[in-house]
C-alpha cells in the first residue's frame, strides 16, 4: 500500500493525474514524490503537496481534503485508489480498469468518458458523472459507478455502456442523449431524464416526471434488471428484496431519437 497524506493545501487547483497505480507501480516513495503535478500554471512535484509512504504497489490510499486536487486516477488501467476525504474534478475520468473508492464527495465529471473499472463514492458526486465532455459523441463506455449520496446534472450523458448507480437523487438530464447502458437511481430521478436517449435503461424507484416524448409501454418484470440487481447486491450494494419482486412500468423513448430507450419505474410495494 502506498499512502499519500496531503501536507500542503494547494492554493490554486492542483492537477495530479500522476496519482494512478500505473504510475506508482515499481517506484520507491522518493520516486513517487518526484512525479510531476501541476499547481496552477506551475509545475511541481507530488512530494511538494503529499507525504508519501510505502512503496509502489498498485494500491494507493490518499488522505486529506482533496477537493482541489483534480484528475485523481484519471486514465488508470489497474489497481486501486482509496480517497479518505473529498476528491476534486475528473476523478477516474477516462479510466479503463481498476477501482477507486472515495470516502467523501467527488467533484464534477467523476468517471467522465471512462472505459472500464469501478468507482465507488460514499458521499455525493457532482455534475457530468460518467458523462461526456462537451462536444464528445460518447460518455462512459463500460465500467461501474456507484454513488451512495446524490449526483448533479447530466449523470451518464451520452453514455454508451456500463452501469451507474445513484443511491440518492440526481439532477436534471440524467441519461440525456444516452446511447446504451443502465442508470439506476434509488432517490428522486431528476427532471428531463433520458432526453434524447437512443437506447439504454434508466431505472427509478419513485414516480418519475417524464418528458412528453416518453410513452407508456407495459408493466412487467424485466429479467435483465433482476440479473443486474443481483450483481449489484453481490458487489455489496444494498438492494431491497421487493425491488426484485414487484413489477416495473416501462416507458419508451426518447421518441425524438430512436425511441428504443426506456425508463423503468418500479411499481411500488
Amino acid at each position: 500500500m502506498t499512502t499519500l497524506r496531503l501536507k500542503t493545501w494547494p492554493a490554486v487547483p492542483l492537477e495530479a493525474e500522476a496519482i494512478t497505480p500505473d504510475r506508482f507501480v515499481g517506484k520507491t516513495s522518493a520516486e513517487i514524490e518526484a512525479l510531476p503535478v501541476h499547481h496552477g500554471n506551475q509545475e511541481a512535484a507530488l512530494g511538494d503537496f503529499f507525504a508519501v509512504s510505502g512503496d509502489g504497489t498498485p494500491d494507493i490510499a490518499i488522505e486529506g481534503d482533496l477537493a482541489r486536487v483534480k484528475l485523481i486516477g484519471a486514465g488508470m488501467t489497474q489497481g486501486q485508489i482509496t480517497v479518505h476525504g473529498d476528491a476534486g474534478m475528473h476523478l477516474g475520468a477516462a479510466m479503463s480498469g481498476g477501482r477507486i473508492g472515495v470516502h467523501g464527495n467527488a467533484g464534477d465529471w467523476a468517471g467522465a468518458e471512462m472505459r472500464g473499472g469501478q468507482i465507488y463514492i460514499r458521499g455525493n458526486a457532482g455534475h457530468g458523472l460518467g458523462g461526456a465532455y462537451r462536444g464528445s459523441p460518447q460518455g462512459m463506455n463500460r465500467g461501474l459507478i456507484v454513488v451512495a449520496g446524490s449526483a448533479g446534472n447530466e449523470v451518464g450523458s451520452a453514455m454508451r455502456r456500463g452501469v451507474i448507480v445513484v443511491g440518492g437523487n440526481t439532477g436534471d438530464f440524467t441519461g440525456a442523449f444516452m446511447i446504451a447502458g443502465s442508470i439506476l437511481v434509488f432517490g428522486n430521478l431528476g427532471e428531463r431524464a433520458g432526453a434524447g436517449m437512443k437506447r439504454g435503461s434508466i431505472i427509478t424507484y419513485q414516480t418519475p416526471k417524464l418528458l412528453p416524448t416518453f410513452r407508456y409501454a407495459c408493466t412487467y418484470r424485466p429479467v435483465f434488471l433482476r440479473l443486474l440487481l443481483r450483481e449489484l447486491r453481490s458487489l455489496g450494494q444494498e438492494i431491497a428484496e421487493e425491488w426484485f419482486e414487484r413489477r416495473y412500468r416501462r416507458y419508451c423513448g426518447d421518441l425524438t431519437a430512436f425511441g428504443k430507450g426506456e425508463i423503468l419505474a418500479w411499481e411500488g410495494p
Binding site: A11, V12, P13, E15, H38, H39, G40, N41, Q42, R68, M89, D108, W109, H127, G128, Y133, R134, G135, D172, F173, A176, F177, R192, A195, G196, L211, P212, T213, L255, T256
Partner: protein, 430 residues
C-alpha cells in the same frame, strides 16, 4: 463635422449606417442610432476627465500601471483574464496572447451570455444564417426568450420584422412574428402571436414541438406544466412546418434559465428537424458589443470559443471548470485582468467578491463597479469612437470600427500590448 456610415459597437446588431456630428471634441449629434447607441456615442468625449491610471486608488501614470499590472499577473499561479466584449478584435488578440504567455484562464462575457448556445452547437451543430437572409427571405420569425425591443432596439426595424427584402416585397405584411416568453415584454407589442410559457419550462415546450413536428401525437397532459395548451403548440408547429423560410431567434431566456445549454440544444435540434419540411435557421441573439468577436478570436487562436485555460501551456476548454463564474466562485483565481467589462456588477456576488479579494487589474473607458475594487485601473479609449478595429456582428459578419474622436487615452490594444511586452521581459529574466 459630419461622419457617415459609422459602425455602432454597443450591441450585437452592429448597425453600420449611423451619422455622427462632432463639435469641439464631442459628439453632438447622432442619427439612425437607437437609444442605446445614441447614449453610448454621446457618452464619450475627447476630454481627459479621468486620470490615465489608478494604483490602489491613487492616480498614476500609464507606465507605472503597466508595470504593476505586469508584476501582479506574472506572479499569479491561476490568473484570470475576463471580459473583452466591448473591445475590438485586435485588442482581443493581445489579450489571448497574454493569457497564453501567462498560463492564465481566459473567459469572455459569452459564458454568461450565449455560452450555453456555444455548448449546444458543440453537441448538435447549428443551422443558421446571416441577418440579411432574415431580411430577404424570412416569412416566419419566432423570438424565444429574447426581448430585442430592449436589448437590440433596431433589430426589428433593420434586420427582421419591418424591412422589405428580396423575397419579402411588402416587409412587415409578409411576415408572421411570434414571441415566446415568460412575460409580455416590450417586444410582445411587435408580435402577431404572444405565447406565455411558465418560467423554466422552455425545454419541455421545445421538446413537445419537436415531437409534434415529427408527427407524434401528444396528450394534453404531456404539456400540462408548460403554460401552453396543446392547441397552441400544434398551431405553432403547423406554422413552422408550413412557412417558406423561418427563423428562430433564441435569447437569454433560454441560456440563463433551467436547462441552459440543453434549452438551446433543443432549439437547435428543433430547427434541424424542420429541414424535413422547409428552410429554417436559428440565430442566438448575442448581446454586448463585440462578444461575437472574442468568441471568434479565441476559436481561431485556441480552438475554443470561451472558458479557455492555458495553465498547462496549451489551450483547454471545459465550461464549468474554466469559466469565470466558476473559477471566481470557487475562489481559485489568484489575480485577474478585466478588460472592457464590469463583472463586479454583473457576476454572482460570490464571484464578484473574489475579484475584490485578489489583485485585480481593470481596463475600462470609464469608472465601474469593477474599477472600484481593482488594484490597478487603466483608462482606455472607447472602441469604435476613439479606437479602431474589427468587430463581429451577432451573426459573425465582420465590420471595421472607426476612430473619429481623438482620445487622451491609449487603446486597449496598446495597453495590452505593453503588458504583453513587459510580462515577456519578466519571463525572460526568470
Amino acid at each position: 463635422m459630419q461622419i457617415d456610415h459609422v459602425v455602432c459597437a454597443f450591441c450585437g446588431c452592429v448597425c453600420d449606417d449611423l451619422t455622427v456630428t462632432l463639435e469641439d471634441g464631442r459628439v453632438t449629434g447622432v442619427k439612425q442610432a437607437c437609444a442605446l447607441g445614441r447614449a453610448w456615442l454621446l457618452g464619450h468625449s475627447a476630454e481627459a476627465d479621468q486620470p490615465p491610471a489608478l494604483i490602489d486608488g491613487q492616480p498614476a501614470s500609464l507606465e507605472e500601471a503597466v508595470e504593476v499590472a505586469a508584476q501582479i499577473l506574472s506572479q499569479a499561479r491561476y490568473p484570470l483574464i475576463y471580459g473583452l466584449s466591448s473591445t475590438y478584435c485586435e485588442a482581443q488578440r493581445q489579450a489571448v496572447a497574454l493569457a497564453d504567455l501567462l498560463g492564465a484562464t481566459i473567459d469572455c462575457c459569452t459564458s454568461v451570455c450565449h455560452g450555453p448556445s456555444g455548448i449546444a452547437m458543440q453537441v448538435v451543430g447549428e443551422p443558421t444564417c446571416t441577418l440579411g437572409e432574415v431580411k430577404n427571405r424570412a416569412d416566419l420569425l419566432i423570438y424565444w426568450g429574447s426581448n430585442p425591443a430592449e436589448s437590440h432596439p433596431l433589430h426589428f426595424a433593420r434586420y427582421a420584422v419591418t424591412p422589405k427584402g428580396l423575397f419579402i416585397p411588402r416587409g412587415r405584411k409578409d411576415r408572421t412574428v411570434v414571441l415566446v416568453d415568460v412575460r409580455p415584454t416590450a417586444s410582445a407589442r411587435a408580435a402577431d402571436i404572444f405565447l406565455q410559457i411558465k418560467p423554466g419550462r422552455d425545454f419541455e415546450c421545445l421538446w413537445a414541438l419537436r415531437a409534434l413536428i415529427r408527427g407524434l401525437d401528444l396528450e394534453e397532459s404531456a404539456v400540462a406544466d408548460t403554460g401552453l395548451t396543446l392547441a397552441q403548440l400544434q398551431d405553432l408547429a403547423g406554422r413552422m412546418k408550413s412557412c417558406r423560410f423561418g427563423v428562430l431567434f433564441v435569447g437569454q431566456g433560454l441560456t440563463q434559465s433551467r436547462g441552459k445549454q440543453m434549452n438551446t440544444a433543443a432549439a437547435f435540434m428543433l430547427v434541424r428537424d424542420l429541414y424535413a419540411h422547409t428552410k429554417f435557421a436559428v440565430i442566438p441573439m448575442r448581446g454586448h458589443g463585440n462578444v461575437t468577436g472574442i468568441d471568434n478570436v479565441l476559436s481561431w487562436q485556441t480552438g475554443y470559443p470561451f472558458g479557455v485555460n492555458f495553465s498547462r501551456g496549451y489551450p483547454r476548454f471545459n465550461p464549468g471548470e474554466f469559466t469565470a463564474v466558476d473559477v471566481l466562485g470557487r475562489g481559485e483565481a489568484d489575480a485577474a485582468l478585466i478588460v472592457a467589462s464590469d463583472p463586479v456588477a454583473t457576476l454572482p456576488r460570490v464571484a464578484a467578491r473574489r475579484l475584490a479579494q485578489i489583485p485585480t487589474v481593470a481596463l475600462d473607458t470609464h469608472g465601474s463597479e469593477t474599477t472600484k475594487v481593482a488594484r490597478v485601473v487603466i483608462t482606455t479609449a472607447p472602441a469604435g469612437i476613439s479606437a479602431e478595429g474589427t468587430i463581429y456582428r451577432m451573426d459573425n459578419v465582420p465590420l471595421r470600427l472607426r476612430k473619429f474622436l481623438p482620445s487622451p487615452y491609449p487603446s486597449d490594444e496598446e495597453v495590452l500590448g505593453r503588458i504583453v511586452e513587459r510580462v515577456t521581459q519578466l519571463r525572460a529574466r526568470n
